[in-house]
């Protein structure tokens, strides 16, 4: 009977082979049955559409004209995209959105984790409270922030007026403030998740290093800078990568709160892709935006991955 691991010529030691050997009577296709639901879903809803998207990026296709209306145009969509000022502006906004939002949410997540890692009354309840926004529906988050950020009657501007600011920003209604306001919401919504991941990492850190450093007279900041922060580097990189991916796909909040406006001030790449595909029905062009976004995120991921290598205490 064929086995999944090990063979006569395998360099794996016999003991290891023995441990991994499948129980007698179990068929070779059985594991595939167990992973099939997930695998089928992955192929049908992730890998398949990704490959289809890649193919569509080289076509001109108005989805209303059906499959028969697909026309191969080679690199035309990419040529048009790189000459499109709207694309570059959307890319700039995406860089701003992610470049400001991701570090801020990681920083606040870390601060929160450090605070919640200390002995506090009601610590468990606080952890839940801060994690809740990560589980709440985007539209519900949007509704709450619409009330908070309303230029005239919103809580935030009322507070700012109370503090003496006569003309506070109009937030989501201002071309200059709408994107920073979305960053604020994103940070608020995401930091609970970041904190939970950091908390798990903090609890795994060996305490003996801290104790040794304390004996050597290192203060709290010195211990954080030389022990905690480097130890958390793999976690930080993981959070940075997942947050950048999440932010580059950021669509829900923008669609609900600003619809890409005012003007085009919150039209980031993901929203521009939606407009091109689902409003203008230019699916080839929208797919090209998706491919470029994917390539940019992949590049950033690789850079972060390289950056992580050789850093941190346990890498």
């Amino acid at each position: 009977m064929q086995t999944l691991v090990g063979s006569a010529r395998s360099p794996v030691p016999a003991v290891v082979r023995e441990k991994k050997r499948r129980p007698a009577g179990v068929r070779s296709w059985l594991p595939w049955v167990f992973i099939a639901p997930n695998l089928i879903g992955l192929i049908a809803f992730t890998l398949g559409p990704m490959l289809a998207g890649l193919g569509i990026a080289f076509t001109r296709w108005n989805v209303l004209s059906g499959l028969g209306g697909i026309e191969w145009v080679g690199l035309d969509n990419f040529t048009e995209l790189f000459a499109d000022p709207k694309f570059w502006k959307a890319l700039g906004r995406t860089v701003f959105f992610a470049g400001l939002g991701v570090p801020l949410s990681i920083a606040f997540g870390l601060l929160l984790a450090l605070a919640l890692n200390r002995p506090l009354v009601g610590r468990a309840a606080l952890r839940v409270v801060f994690f809740v926004p990560s589980m709440v529906n985007t539209v519900a988050i949007g509704m709450v922030w619409l009330l908070v950020l309303n230029p005239s009657a919103g809580l935030l501007n009322q507070a700012l007026r109370f503090l003496g600011l006569s003309e506070p920003p109009t937030w989501l209604v201002s071309e200059n403030w709408a994107l920073p306001a979305l960053v604020l919401i994103q940070v608020w919504a995401g930091m609970g998740y970041q904190a939970v991941i950091y908390l798990a990492a903090l609890q795994e850190l060996p305490q003996d290093l801290h104790e040794a450093a304390m004996i050597d007279g290192a203060g709290a900041w010195r211990r954080f800078r030389t022990i905690t922060w480097p130890s958390l580097m793999p976690t930080t990189v993981f959070l940075a990568i997942t947050s950048f991916i999440g932010t580059s796909q950021g669509f829900g909040l923008i669609a609900f709160l600003t619809g890409g406006g005012p003007g085009e001030s919150t039209t980031v790449l993901a929203y521009y892709m939606y407009q091109s595909g689902f409003q203008a029905y230019k699916f080839g062009y929208a797919a090209a935006i998706g491919v470029v976004t994917f390539a940019a995120v992949l590049l950033l991921t690789l850079v972060l991955w390289r950056f992580q290598k050789g850093r941190g205490l346990y890498t």
């Binding site: 009577g25 068929r27 108005n62 989805v63 209303l64 004209s65 059906g66 209306g69 619409l146 309303n150 230029p151 005239s152 109009t170 989501l172 209604v173 201002s174 071309e175 890409g260 406006g261 005012p262 003007g263 085009e264 407009q275 689902f278 409003q279 203008a280 029905y281």
Partner: protein, 436 residues
Amino acid sequence: MTRTISRRRLLAGAAGLGSAALLAACGKDESGDAGTVTLNVWGGVPAENGPDALFAAFTAKHPNIKVKYTRFVNDDQGNLKLDTALQGGLEIDVVVSYARSALAKRVEAGLLTDLTERLSGDPVLKAFAPAANPASNYFFDGKAYSAPASRSVETVLANKSLLDKAGVTVPTDWTTADFRAIAKQLSGNGVYGCLIPPDLARQQLGPDFTYKPGGRESNFDHPAFRQNFQLRLDMMAEKSAVPMTEIVAQKWDAFAQTPFLTGKVAMWISQPFVMRYIKDTKEYPHDFKTVLLPMPAPQKGAQFWNTGAYGDNVAITKKSKHQDAAFTLLRFWLGEGAAHMVPGGRLPSLPGGDTAKLAADLGGPDAAKLFDEQSLVTNLLTSDARIPVDAIQTAHAEISTIMNGLNQRVLLGNISIDQWARTAREQCDAAIKKAA
């Protein structure tokens, strides 16, 4: 013990299942009522606001044609849902398009049946054929792919209590200047005189106002557009019109009925379909009467266009297997059936009809409490307002998208009117050139 299924048993099982399915399918066909067809109709009006009554009356007259109505919400997502359903092979026979851009997309994709011959050959519906004068329908390369089921004259809806309280009497031949003065008079104490002032560009330029003659260039450098924005910016500054920041923050561009029916806005320019909100006193409780005023003229005594439209464009899909039945429905919808849509605020596109009955249907049982009934007849039902019908379709959808963003920017004070005109010309001309 492991149990195995032999190939023979598997094949026998599959054959059995196939036979059962085939028998079921045959049974269904045979049991069907010979000659009866069911039309699948997709529209944006809630079923209870007219479609239910319309289709019930239709089936009563044509018992061999049944109608299954599906309501889609007439926004981007709703239209996308309909378009993907159309493309995805769902059996849809009749669709209603509300925005010209949505209709254009469906025509350009070849999804709709060319109705030119049918409309031209019909003694009544020829009013919507390309040869009709004046035009009351959209045409694409000289062909008609739909016919409008409603004629929506725009009027100024005003809160009568606020008018009376301010002691305002609106002249029947009022002008934009009068409108502004009255709006200013009505403003204050948390009330804005109007939501948005009249669109001076559309009123003065009429059909195809966004294109220069011939349709090869956009027209946004025309002084009428400057005049239009200046009026609105001035009125927002003096608080006689709602500031754009407020409209965007409260999403009043999509839910304009809210500020009017909650008494925050005294005058609101809109079309008859909003009657359904005024009559919905459960959702929008209010204790004032709505009076309908004619649109003010840009200049005293000068002719001008109404900013309303022919709409609810009913079309038959090319894939429909029931073209004749679908056209029978279209004919009924626009003709004798149109009355059933009146309670929901869709006024017939064809002239005629009993004005008193239309007024009763439109106003509903509580009309005396909710409306100044005389104004309903004088300024809406018997209005002879000229409604512009656009003939140029080049890059219309792209121009709409560009202008939505730019209009918002100028009204929020982010760009000047000059910058607006320059950018609008540049971007729209490029879109027209590309589309042509």
